[in-house]
Symmetry: C2
Subunit: 345 residues, 2 copies
């Protein structure tokens, strides 16, 4: 067997603000033959997700950060190209967390086999994967929407938000999205079934929200923070639930201009309006995966739930594609196609 060269994206410097190409370097690593029990994996899809921005900072969080000089972490769908393990055969598709690289030697721990006849293998990184489960548990378990509740979703067409909005619609709620570009707002309403969608670029965001939510807001699914949070917060009803899933507007902040401290006002509102504000990290909801997969697969099959993928070819485009997550340039679940997907023509 010819030696395999893995192309790797290495975190070279800790980014300040939006990550730049110069914060990364490309490395080519020669892989040996798989050892006893080992597999050689070729990456087909790499998932790009906002949480990765946090991993680039040397700040303790819910998962370890990436050391400079290391391969960037990330979820992947790969194909087994060689196997010394009885559990995996050549040609198997597997979901893993092998990062921003084209090939890897792997001992098989934590890999999940994917059946391409059940669903497109890329969906294991999106609607049927981590973002989908985040949406499912964050809306249903934390948000606890009741029939006729008004549910507001920021980043309404994103990998998580797009699923949240549709689950809320399926739950019988009035669903209002917040997105950036006009075409995203149209897509939210026309394709995903939101009852309304307003743009956070509008200087009139607060009034538009008020119009779209005549009965106030019972559930707010927060992906954005910043001015979007400020706009929604005042409309939260007594007893409203807010799922804190992300705050993408803050992830690249380097310094903040001194502003009045909003915390006392927010805490007072939490008290007087009996709000519940709760964070979600998907790792805590592994026990919900069977229900999630059964429900969402069914809704995809019967057409009640749609998804959109934003597939960018080539690992060398990963950094510029990742930047697009923060500028609003990407539209749908962002994936890098690192190598050919043999299940698609």
């Amino acid at each position: 067997m010819k030696p395999v060269i893995s192309r790797q994206v290495i975190l070279a410097n800790r980014p300040i603000g939006v990550p730049q190409a110069s914060d990364f370097s490309i490395n080519e690593k020669v892989l040996g033959a798989p050892g006893p029990g080992e597999l050689l994996l070729r990456t087909i899809y790499l998932s790009l997700d906002p949480y990765m921005r946090g991993r680039m900072n040397a700040v303790a969080s819910y998962a370890p950060y990436v050391q400079t000089g290391e391969v960037m972490v990330g979820g992947t769908v790969s194909i087994v190209e060689a196997s010394n393990s009885p559990s995996f055969s050549i040609g198997d598709f597997v979901l893993g967390h092998t990062g921003w690289q084209s090939h890897v030697l792997h001992d098989g721990t934590g890999l999940r086999k994917l059946d391409p006849r059940q669903a497109p293998i890329s969906t294991a990184l999106g609607v049927l994967g981590m973002p989908g489960l985040t949406a499912y548990a964050g809306l249903l378990d934390i948000g606890q929407p009741k029939q006729s509740d008004t549910v507001v979703v920021s980043a309404a067409t994103g990998a998580v938000g797009g699923v949240v909005g549709q689950l809320a619609r399926i739950s019988g709620c009035r669903v209002v999205g917040i997105a950036g570009a006009k075409e995203k707002c149209s897509y939210a309403v026309e394709e995903l079934g939101y009852h309304a969608c307003v743009s956070h670029h509008s200087p009139d965001l607060k009034n538009q929200l008020a119009e779209a939510c005549p009965d106030g807001v019972d559930v707010y699914f927060e992906n954005v923070g910043g001015i979007v949070f400020d706009a929604v917060f005042d409309y939260l009803n007594v007893g409203a639930r807010m799922t804190v899933c992300g705050m993408i507007s803050h992830y690249n902040e380097t310094a903040r201009s001194p502003e009045p401290d909003r915390l006392p006002r927010i805490m007072r509102a939490i008290l007087t309006r009996r709000l519940k504000i709760q964070g979600i990290i998907v790792f805590d909801y592994a026990h919900r995966e069977p229900d999630f997969l059964a429900d969402v697969s069914k809704w995809i099959r019967n057409g009640e739930l749609r998804y959109r993928e934003d597939i960018v070819d080539g690992l060398d485009n990963a950094v510029s594609a990742f930047q697009g997550l923060f500028t609003g340039n990407n539209f749908g679940k962002l994936l890098i196609r690192v190598s050919d997907d043999p299940t698609r023509e």
Copy 2:
């Protein structure tokens, strides 16, 4: 029957900062004879509670504010002195919400009869009343303490906090109090069974908390806000629950010096540590009253749960006693004895 004169404390001006005597006036109102179905009530105990500060502001909240020129609102225990109602007899003790006044004509709506053989009638305003139910629902329903959790309670010896700490101890938790005066801290440990209690006057509060909570904090019952919140927040564990019951340190604030906006940091922590922060207003938990009364009465009878009352004589002392709630001068459930309690010698 001689005409009865009701002595009333009227909100004369909206207080700025800590309410002053000059913000109130005393009125004497001549009451007529009770009409058909009406009762004449003589107030025995008036409850003084921090929430009343909010009622003095012309700011919409979970309950209407008091108009200037009106009698201040408040919970009371009264005795029936005359009755044209078949439901009440002279000499009955009733729990009501008749406010800062010595006598009132009442149609009986919403009054609850009290049996002085079951418990001292004053406890209906404290450990067996609204503060007790707040503690019970706020700790058990929102905080959901598990055996061996660490529970931190601010205003640890207050009308609510004192019950919270003891319920947490009964639930098998490690219980750490935060109070002001040294004697309150000693009382928390020696009488209420807190495992430790630290003073928020200590410049070393954060380190003392760290020492008292070696395994971090799983439940924080918030009555205070301000520097106490800041001190506890960083120790909240992954998955911790915070019940927002009060923020007494803010209630008299008139303006706040510009400070960095803490909200983004707090929201980030809510996300990464999957915190749940939820407000409580006791009105929402009427359905828990039967369990609450059964449990807490039992624990009082068997000595597991203690309470302390801070009884001040005379309606004319209500304003100065109320000020003590904010300066830390009061110690235990604060009550005004408006007139003689015939059940006590």
